[in-house]
């Protein structure tokens, strides 16, 4: 998993440009640091040849003012050009996706067929090579949307909609995380971005926009019944069932995601069971109450049902 969230392992256009900027600045900065160290050493060394020009105001004027002004002018200009290059792309072909920061998870809203949008959570799937304009909003406090290997971060601010452009250069999974402290479980508010090639993306999108898979056996049918009768639908939606809550993440295809609880834990039936019963220990202060009402058999049924919602 090393590098999955790294600025230095770029897999997107912006991240690559910024990584180049960083390595160049690091090189320049190292040279300057070495120069300062050498000058200091010479200054400390006592009488040595070449110490004469070190001891006058001329040193300060040339090395302390003129040189930095030249270097900084160049750096400023470069930074400004990079800033211009990274501005939001007005690409007519761009995919528009909305991500809403919630305490402490991500609501993802895709455009569906016929202008009807549908929701997912904590995972963003995007096509490789195509501009994705992500609309960033928040439902409560300030969050910040950040996928280091694709691009820099942009905050989600109440009353505003910020837009950022992502272009993934290669297929694969990147990890993102909330970068603005949002109280409570801020540390456990992550997500995955999965870059797919165009055809894979379209077929995924078609499947994802559809309703949930109906339960296939007795146990998962029990799981679905438990889900509906225990009030889970007050907060969660499973399209194709009566559960249409809007407070928590949409679970229509929860089993197909890479992680649970905003990339806090792996995603399988056992993990879902633990989450339902013990979520306040796994992710303290999260807004889902722990459900200790289920016995082991019921919990297994519910977990298998949810894990099966691919």
């Amino acid at each position: 998993m090393n590098g999955v969230q790294s600025v230095l392992a770029p897999r997107g256009q912006d991240a690559e440009r910024i990584a180049t900027l960083f390595w160049t600045m690091l090189g320049g900065g190292t040279l300057i640091m070495l120069a300062v160290a050498v000058l200091t050493a010479l200054a400390l060394k006592g009488d040595s040849p070449g110490r004469g020009w070190l001891r006058s105001e001329r040193l300060v004027v040339w090395v302390g003012i003129v040189l930095p002004v030249c270097l900084l002018t160049a750096l400023l200009a470069w930074g400004l050009f990079a800033l211009r290059a990274g501005a939001v792309h007005s690409d007519p072909d761009a995919l528009r996706v909305a991500v809403v920061g919630e305490r402490w998870w991500w609501r993802v809203i895709y455009p569906g067929a016929g202008g009807r949008s549908f929701e997912s959570a904590n995972e963003l799937r995007i096509p490789v090579g195509r501009t994705v304009n992500v609309e960033l909003r928040t439902a409560d406090v300030i969050h910040s949307f950040w996928v280091p290997s694709l691009a820099g971060k942009v905050d989600m601010i109440p009353g505003r909609t910020n837009v950022m452009s992502l272009v993934a250069n290669a297929t694969g999974v990147s990890r993102g995380q909330c970068a603005e402290y949002c109280g409570g479980a801020h540390a456990l508010m992550s997500f995955h971005v999965v870059a797919l090639n165009a055809t894979e993306f379209e077929s995924w999108l078609a499947h994802e926009s559809g309703p949930a898979i109906p339960p296939a056996d007795a146990e998962t049918r029990l799981g679905q019944t438990l889900f509906i009768t225990s009030g889970c639908g007050a907060c969660h939606t499973i399209r194709g069932t009566d559960a249409a809550g809007r407070i928590g993440p949409d679970l229509t295809h929860v089993g197909g995601r890479l992680s649970l609880a905003a990339a806090t834990m792996s995603n399988d039936a056992a993990a879902i069971g633990r989450w339902i019963r013990d979520n306040q220990h796994i992710k303290p202060q999260n807004r889902m109450p722990p459900f200790a009402i289920f016995d082991d058999r019921q919990l297994a049924a519910l977990s298998r049902y949810l894990a099966g919602l691919k």
């Binding site: 002004v69 002018t73 400004l80 501005a87 939001v88």
Partner: protein, 101 residues
């Protein structure tokens, strides 16, 4: 007190320029409909920058004191302020106006 203020006239011009440029950009982008603010922002920044540089040039040519220390400090502060004003001014030549980063 006037002596002290004269000493730091350069940075005061810088601060005024900064406030005008930042205020003009923010306000014009907020009140003008998209697509119409660009020219006025560019013009405001341009005029403010030229005016500030001219003021600094004048201030630099008349340091207002014959005491060497105060004259040197005044002059160098004026030079640094002029560099800072110029840096601020060139941004509008490179970065698009009123758009999100």
């Amino acid at each position: 007190m006037p002596l002290l203020i004269r000493l730091v006239l350069g940075p005061i011009v810088w601060a005024a320029h900064f406030a005008v440029v930042y205020g003009a950009h923010t306000a014009l982008c907020a009140i003008r409909p998209p697509g119409t603010a660009e020219a006025s922002v560019a013009m405001a920044v341009g005029i403010a920058t030229l005016a500030a540089l001219l003021t600094l040039l004048l201030a630099g040519m008349t340091p207002g004191t014959a005491v060497r220390f105060r004259r040197d400090v005044t002059l160098l502060l004026t030079v640094l302020s002029a560099i800072a004003v110029a840096w601020l001014g060139i941004t509008v030549l490179i970065v698009p106006v009123c758009t999100s980063p």
